[in-house]
């Protein structure tokens, strides 16, 4: 399952790490754009397999941020 960016912006924080178990609805990335913080949630329960971004990276809407298995 690929977790994608809902908006263009900067990666403010990544509260999870590769190998970590996440639950459905858990915040996995916090994006910031235009003075607004937007948490991105995992749509599924599982384990974080890949983290594609680092804090400070700029991402576009639709970019794959994290993969959860």
């Amino acid at each position: 399952m690929q977790i994608t960016a809902t908006m263009a912006g900067t990666v403010l924080s990544i509260p999870v790490a590769v190998g970590e178990a996440v639950s459905e609805g858990q915040d996995v990335i916090v994006l910031e754009s235009m003075k607004m913080e937007v948490p991105i949630q995992s749509e599924v329960a599982g384990t974080v397999r890949v983290v594609n971004v680092q804090v400070g990276d700029f991402v576009n809407e639709g970019d794959v941020l994290i993969e959860v298995e």
Partner: protein, 450 residues
């Protein structure tokens, strides 16, 4: 009058100040970050000085960099615009130290109103009604829970140093307050440098009505009527109008006089706005004072026929107010829509390149914009790309004119809230003047879900 004004801001408001300066024969200096090197405000000013990289903390919020730009260009006055450093007393103080006139109130007035807790205290002393709430700061969760039970849920948890809806949350129970307290305190600390929190009784569906004030340095003050700004999302304004749809002359006078008392209580000078919330029974309560020019000042300009930036410059230069309260006109009705670079349904930011920008035109239609075709809307700054203002003889005619103007407004390349604005303006409840701060949640979001 001043020779040269530095504008410590960007986007549409920097252009707005340049426009009046030019009409008055005053030279202008723009400042800019690397992200704004090609921006309209930079090209339109007589001079421009780079002040740093794109993030605001490294550029537009750097008092030293802004003051260095003023020194280099020998500007004799500084206009702070709104947002950014406009309500930071350190900038007003730095100006005073450098012998540059700050076009705004004295630093002490900014500081006192910047602390919402202190402002509540001052207003109570001045006899201005305040929302029932905590008596000063709630030190910790235990104190917050006790206060919340005393005033009764729902309550609004707020940061004393807050603004723009950050660090505030409505809570309806002990459990929600327990969850919200630490998180909002942390956010307040990181955004405003102070984690001081307080509580107010949460009023369901009030109107947000504010009074525009103008004081000279000779002890004279007037109120330039009210603006209603109830149409909000995330506690940020979307549509403003003047006068209020309430159209209550008695209430206008009582609020105007309370606002003047608020300004006098802190020795205010220049333009400022006292924000109130008004309940269904016509009771009004002090919310906060904005010690600067407001985003929505054009609706006041439309109905009064005044140029607020010109008046700011004149009173800052020591001129007396050229009219008294009886000399303030109130003609017709004006509405402003804020054009945001955001997804109209999810209301999330949508930065990108504006491929095409075509603005509506016509009598009584005003556009204050910070962008043009080809402009890049970056994720670094506020999502507002422009303001559309209409003025007509009646509220009904203004709404019709706004609907037409919104239909003509064309932005391609990024998503904007234009469809949302059109939907609000066409809504029977908006047209009936039944505008309260929960309007978008109540009528727009519900409709989408059903």
């Amino acid at each position: 009058m001043f020779r040269k004004v530095l504008i410590a801001n960007r986007g549409e408001i920097a252009r707005r100040v340049i426009r009046t300066c030019r009409a008055m024969g005053i030279a202008t200096v723009a400042v800019y970050s690397d992200a704004d090197a090609n921006a309209l405000h930079v090209r339109e000013a007589d001079e421009a000085v780079r002040i740093g990289p794109p993030p605001v903390a490294a550029s537009y919020l750097q008092v030293d960099a802004v003051m260095e730009a003023a020194r280099q260009t020998q500007a004799d006055a500084l206009h702070p615009g709104y947002g950014l450093l406009s309500e930071n007393p350190a900038l007003a103080e730095a100006c005073a130290d450098a012998g540059v006139t700050f076009i705004g109130p004295p630093a002490h007035a900014i500081r006192e109103m910047g602390s919402k807790i202190r402002a509540r205290q001052l207003m109570r002393e001045a006899g201005v009604p305040i929302v029932p709430g905590s008596d000063g700061e709630v030190a910790d969760l235990t104190a917050a829970l006790q206060t919340a039970r005393d005033i009764g849920y729902p309550v609004m948890l707020k940061a004393s140093g807050g603004g723009g809806g950050i660090g505030m949350q409505v809570v309806e129970s002990d459990a929600q307050l327990e969850k919200a307290f630490a998180a909002n305190q942390q956010r307040a600390k990181s955004y405003f440098g102070s984690g001081a929190m307080f509580l107010e009784k949460y009023l369901e569906a009030p109107r947000h009505i504010e009074i525009q004030l103008l004081f000279d340095t000779h002890g004279h003050g007037v109120y330039l009527w009210e603006r209603e700004c109830s149409i909000q999302r995330r506690h940020q304004k979307v549509i403003e109008e003047a006068p209020s749809a309430l159209g209550d002359a008695g209430l206008r006078k009582r609020m105007g006089e309370a606002a003047l008392a608020a300004g006098r209580a802190i020795g205010y000078t220049n333009a400022g706005t006292v924000e109130f919330i008004v309940d269904g029974a016509g009771h009004f309560y002090f919310l906060e004072m904005n010690t600067r020019l407001q985003v929505e000042h054009p609706v006041t300009e439309a109905v009064t026929g005044l140029d607020l930036v010109e008046l700011q410059l004149r009173v800052a230069a020591g001129e007396p107010l050229p009219f008294d309260q009886a000399g303030v006109a109130l003609n017709g009705h004006a509405i402003e829509c804020r054009i945001y670079a955001e997804d109209p349904v999810r209301m999330l930011p949508s930065p990108g390149t504006i491929q095409v920008l075509e603005l509506p035109t016509g009598e009584g239609v005003r556009n204050d914009v910070g962008v043009e075709s080809g402009s890049v809307v970056t994720p670094y700054y506020d999502p507002m790309i422009g303001k559309l203002i209409v003025h007509a003889p009646t509220r009904e005619a203004a709404i019709a004119k706004m609907a037409q103007a919104l239909a003509e407004y064309r932005v391609e390349g990024i998503k904007t809230n234009l469809p949302l604005l059109a939907q609000i303006v066409a809504h029977p409840q908006f047209q009936a003047g039944a505008t309260t701060t929960d309007f978008i949640r109540q009528y727009v979001q519900n409709r989408k879900e059903s």
